[in-house]
Symmetry: D2
Subunit: 337 residues, 4 copies
């Protein structure tokens, strides 16, 4: 399979290149970037020495149309512009937000600009695999959305789904490879600070959409994101009121059963807690749950790599399914702590 990567100079793009270059079935045939076109790949991704001597190509439709499958990792609004020009038979996994939302109203509220419509939402633990397999176009979920939706899904019918509270912290690569003063090391080290504060983070509607679609319930999320002093990783703390009588042990069973066949999601042994530094470089999702009977709430703690399961790993998982490969082809790596 010939693979193209567009937006390869960003952090998600770099992680795509790393994973794809070790993938048994995929062959990278196009590595494109916009402002970084012409630059050396290792100048921007010095860890990817297997690309020594190669440059980012300027993005062009002809080369992309020669690919079997293209990953697009671009700022929102950019993917749709490019994709509209591509040949219909090229499979596409979009890592951006352009095709995630089925509701134009939500797009207008959280993103704005031209609404491109929606594709199959590719969160394979929650989305029917058949649907992904049949799709030529898949919208890969956002990093926070992945961690949060996976945390809630098993108990969505046992909680007050209109009052789910989430506080999730991300490493700085989540903010992209962008030269902004508030992202320089001197500002972010030693610092925890919230942003997009007050329920305005753009991943909110996609979380509500996927959880609503699997439960046929109205879902509302209060989500507060935090920037943490580390490059990679997301730790999400999710909590909701239980509306059915249950026990900690029953809840454990619900989660174990729900993710029983999952290649990537695991409920940790009691007493162990998810740690962001244990999932780095992987598509693994570490989860722990508790029942706080004092307030009658379930609490879920979930760690992912925002660039792994939160971006490149999940995009490849989707591509694997779209190409009838094993879901975890090329994704079996252990974490590098």
């Amino acid at each position: 399979m010939k693979i193209g990567v567009v937006g390869a100079s960003g952090y998600a793009g770099g992680e795509l290149l790393r994973l794809l270059s070790e993938h048994p079935n995929f062959e990278i045939s196009f590595i494109g970037a916009h402002t970084n076109a012409g630059e050396s790949i290792t100048a921007l991704h010095p860890q990817l020495i297997q690309f020594e001597g190669q440059q980012f190509s300027a993005v062009n439709v002809d080369d992309l149309n020669k690919c079997d499958l293209v990953f697009t990792a671009l700022p929102h609004g950019e993917s749709a512009k490019l994709i509209s020009q591509l040949n219909e038979k090229v499979k596409i996994v979009d890592l951006g937000a352009d095709y995630r939302l089925t509701d134009k109203t939500q797009w207008d509220k959280y993103y704005g600009g031209s609404y491109a419509g929606s594709w199959t939402y590719g969160l394979p633990e929650l989305t029917d695999h058949q649907l992904i397999t049949k799709s030529k176009h898949v919208a890969s979920p956002g990093c926070y959305a992945t961690a949060i939706a996976l945390s809630v899904a098993p108990v969505i019918n046992q909680i007050d789904s209109e009052d789910i509270v989430v506080v999730a912290a991300s490493g700085t690569t989540g903010a992209g490879r962008t030269a902004k003063v508030n992202l320089i090391g001197s500002e972010v080290m030693n610092n925890l600070t919230s942003y997009k504060f007050g329920g305005v983070h753009q991943h909110t509607p996609e979380i509500e959409q996927i959880l609503s679609s699997i439960s046929n319930k109205s879902v509302k999320i209060s989500f507060t994101p935090i920037l943490a002093p580390m490059p990679r990783g997301i730790l999400a703390t999710v909590t909701a009121k239980l509306i059915t009588a249950t026990s900690a042990q029953k809840l454990r069973t619900v989660y174990s059963d729900f993710y029983d066949k999952s290649k990537f999601v695991s409920l940790l042994t009691e007493g162990q807690m998810p740690m962001t530094n244990s999932v780095l470089g992987t598509s693994n999702v570490s989860m722990q749950i508790a029942l706080d009977s004092h307030v009658n709430r379930i609490i879920i703690s979930t760690a992912i790599d925002n660039l792994g399961k939160g971006a490149a790993g999940q995009a490849i998982q989707n591509a694997n399914l779209m190409c009838n490969l094993a879901e975890d082809a090329g994704l079996k790596l252990a974490g590098v702590r």
Copy 2:
């Protein structure tokens, strides 16, 4: 005023020494430690070069009884043992948990061991200053408790006080200067992980107690603590359902008015967010609030220095009041970012 510090070799102890050595009215006359007695102060606190050549003394009752005021910064259970031997006329500010809880049941549930009774709970923004001023003995609040109680207090009567959700992350000094494998740099850097998960953190009852005492309401907190990859600072995210109709602007007024006369707590300008690295070395409390009408919740983000307002700074604030000094004597320092 002759001041004694017991537990001076720990992180809170070191911050006490730093602040006291620059205090205009207090003179340090006793610096005591247990296992570190006899060691050089600068070997453990190399930043405190004004103590060059001095050693930690072994803790002894005679020397402490010569002090006008003693700060005790010891593991829970230890303060009570020592304090029972001291002369009644020595003023004491205890930075530990021994005298914070009025309810023995809560002590037994969250701490265990012998219950020592309770003292005036010294959170000066919420506790009547007269009460602190009259007290010979004051229990200084826990670091998380300080950040969380201050976040909630202004709106306690406008929220569902039995379902307050808190996720708060602390730097590693909050875990003390202890040689544990899970605290070594190789483990904590690049890592976010929750601990005391499921509503079991021992600061829970003191938060409920102080908020209940100022509101005469039943208060229940769901609190999830997180260890963050930085030495100092706490960022608390607090959210609760609003039970009265209000607006973001009205809520801002509630907070501004509530902390109008506070020397240390400030509601930031709209658009600015609390940052832990902006309060380091101070007793300052940075706060921002939002109304998320989507879920009808108020969200509060609050940053403190766990060793400043969360420990040494607040203990000195209490001592100032107990000694009829200006509340902020010796505490006017700007942050070191």
Copy 3:
């Protein structure tokens, strides 16, 4: 004394504001910035809450001429342009490089652009205090230059002064508050990397100049700078061949004697090593030395705060001398670790 600060929005500027606001003899009367003029001071320096509600002024000659003393903290080339317009009677401490070098050839080689001449080089431990006191204009040394020159000075006559080897690592604030991709947190955390590699760092000539001026010897430095994953602090490792027979103990005496009267430089007790996190927020210089007889070299390890003794603290030390104040007025603070 009315004080002006130009370039107040940078990191050195912020540290100047912090220290000046607590200085017993100086009153800040002008706070100027270029691109950040009009912005809120606390938006850029959120730790400086004593400046809440104030803005950076546009730099203008009239306001500066009303000051008794002005600190200029600007990129090289910028100070000289501004200063040429100021009234002769305004005292100036320049934190930039414009007036440090006495040799136009060196300026041309390491900086380029118009050469502005040279002022008194204000490294008070090595420069005659009388000279500083008499000067209306003082060039405050570079951060690396300070750490390195202080490390070498006591033994300059006992070493091969033409082959001094230095490797020094700095926190990221040393690179300024600049939006560059290579400075964002995602790039600098977990990373050590050298820059200006191969003897081309612009502090090299000023180190050679000051050491040569105090020894009348030719001095040559091989200096390799490194960017370290922390916001503040410099650790310099300096080594040179000994040309006279000596012992470790004699060398300790040389250093102790040399800095005997220094308010800021201290040779640590044997067995203790300089740590950058112990001098943060101060003008303190921690030093340790060893004689490695295996290679007949003295090795010096020195820690400073690049923004303290390496910038704002030293500039104020110079200003104190120029104003006949105690050298350490306003600079007696303990470190915040």
Copy 4:
């Protein structure tokens, strides 16, 4: 091939497990630890989810004798005790220091305790591959030794080999997984500090030994190690006087030629600098050189992963050679930045 790992609970042990579990020719058949025997592997190495449900075994000779090859990653002195009990036909790669030094005097000076003799020193870029291939027992080099010896080797005949100056900084995993107060996160973050100061680091003799053995020259190293605020990675800055007339371009050719066939060592393109975060998780060695004609010195900057090429990666490289496999079998991974 059946593989045993002893000392599997430490950081080098964990990295061995990660790499071995993805190795095409090696099968892990014994995972042993001492104090951690009986504990869950993922409790200590939570990133290694492929070992979920397995425990560290107590170290026992019977199980080890069933292995074809055993890796020992133990504190010095411990390997020798264990190895003396093993069957002669079991191949062994020792990651500790016990068998590195050929000179008992050096052992006594830098380590002490019983001297166990010496094995083939397995630094495959400098040691004859035939020698390693023929050896049943190989001593794998120290992490600093690897970075430093590789930096110097190509020019050993063009420099004053008795006056090589090295300053090298390591991440905290280099200090092991040990509960010591000076290693806890609160102490090491924001901090650079030197240790084993004054030419006493125990890797000094092995660096001198290998460089001397390849050059037949007397070699003396002045080596100052530094602890850096990051978990992994070593950046070594190495400099020496040039004794032959040369040019930067000629030196580049010397290095390029020397490492031309190396699978792991690369001289970076001019203008790019080695970064520790670009080699994490790999056996890659990034190198850059400069000629500083001002002082007539060559300067080499070299980055490795202390747990990769500095420990587990190199041990496996040696094992590959000993088993007649491709040198880089199982080691072709790209870095995880």
